[in-house]
Symmetry: C2
């Protein structure tokens, strides 16, 4: 089942994707819903981010090749994370599938994508075990953890390097049946494949993160956990179109435009 | 004017504090409201956090004595921040005035308070100037940036050192008339004064942060910006009651209890 959040006639609803249609619901997948007898064509609605997160978690470093390649570019020794320490991103930066990433006027040329699997939490959870960890998960979506690498190195925090407005595309939908095991993440720029990796070749997998996190914090419906990325990105320029596909889950597509 | 968020008879409302009463409103101070003719005694309502933030910003290091004292304790050179780089905290950790901070079972003895001025954003804003920066501010409240210092040093992020459940008391209300200039922040533990500092002796003041932040990000109604703290905290133990007073603004009181 695929949950989509969309706007039609200036009203925003949740809906269920059925082929090339979306069936409107009242309510939402977190608090309860009723199916309505209103169907729209997917191409006639404006797709919104699938959830406004209550807390926006992000694993950051979670794939070995990404850590090793990043270190090589900086001429330093790679430091693989030894523990599943979760990090954060910010809601101001979220944009939907097909919206434009705006590269700030004074950004350097080091604008990179990071295609990521995103876990969407559906139920309140604390003190999860490896056996029951996935019971709190509603489903999965796709994220692009856009980064300005020069600011990422120079600033004390990731506030503008990773959380400038529009730097966090997420969508297009929440798939409740997706299983990460055999999935492949493929990132194309202007139709040309640039990065391919096994989605589940994480250093710490989804259950491990959820178990560690819920030792100290409560997960709430609508929280999201971005799981990190592998490989590296070329420098992106104005006009580039980035397509992140996770097989079995969908495509997240966004154009990058330099601010005038 | 003081905005409070409270629960009475299992319903949560915004209200306006009038003496020792609260006047119920429909709506909220962000999207619009109507005053109702229902008054409650302040002591008969359950005070809630004054806002569930859309994005939870936090300055972190922003007072020189705090940076110098912290460095001294670690035996390292103090590094004062050179730029107003904003950071983040997480909504799961928020609790209200008079709720208990739960010290995790396996936390070390290094549990510290940080009494902070909190800016509550009331209007959408981008590209603010020093002249108009405060025009987006609805008012101010008080925060306690509770920290477990051992985890703060050992972990790759601040996820459990600063964002464990209950580690972010905020309240009791939003004061729309408060002016930081002459205010004093006083922190008492069990009635004994432990920290006193001029609230506005920040390295980067509120307008400076808002101007810097909005070069790259949009502030939204309901966002909060915690402004950092000065001085240091003694190690807190189970049963300690911490009272953070900002003169002219109010008191934020919370008891610390060790998890069993």
């Amino acid at each position: 089942m695929r949950w989509i959040r969309y706007t039609f006639n200036q009203m925003t609803h949740y809906g269920i994707v059925k082929g090339d249609k979306v069936q409107q619901v009242s309510g939402d997948p977190f608090g309860g819903f009723n199916e309505e007898s209103i169907f729209r064509d997917l191409h006639e609605v404006k797709i919104e981010i699938p959830v406004v997160p209550r807390t926006f978690y992000c694993a950051g470093l979670n794939y070995s090749e990404h850590v090793i390649e990043s270190a090589k570019k900086q001429g330093i020794e790679p430091a693989l994370p030894l523990k599943a320490d979760i990090g954060y991103r910010a809601n101001n930066a979220l944009i939907a599938h097909m919206e434009n990433v705006i590269i700030p006027r004074d950004a350097t040329e080091k604008i990179h994508y990071e295609g990521e699997l995103v876990v969407v939490i559906g139920k309140k959870a604390k003190h999860l075990t490896h056996e029951n960890a996935l019971s709190c998960v509603l489903g999965y979506t796709i994220g692009n953890d856009v980064s300005e690498r020069t600011w990422q190195r120079s600033d004390r925090t990731f506030w503008r390097s990773k959380n400038a407005d529009t730097f966090k595309p997420m969508g297009p939908w929440i798939d409740t049946d997706f299983v990460p095991d055999d999935a492949v993440t493929t990132v194309k720029v202007n139709g040309v494949v640039k990065t391919v990796y096994k989605t589940n070749s994480m250093i710490f997998d989804v259950p491990t993160f959820l178990v560690e996190m819920t030792k100290y914090l409560t997960l709430w419906p609508g929280d999201v956990v971005w799981m990190g990325t592998d490989g590296t990105s070329p420098d992106l320029i104005s006009g580039d179109e980035v397509d992140i596909e996770i097989s079995g889950l969908g495509h997240l597509q966004n154009k990058f435009i330099k601010e005038l």
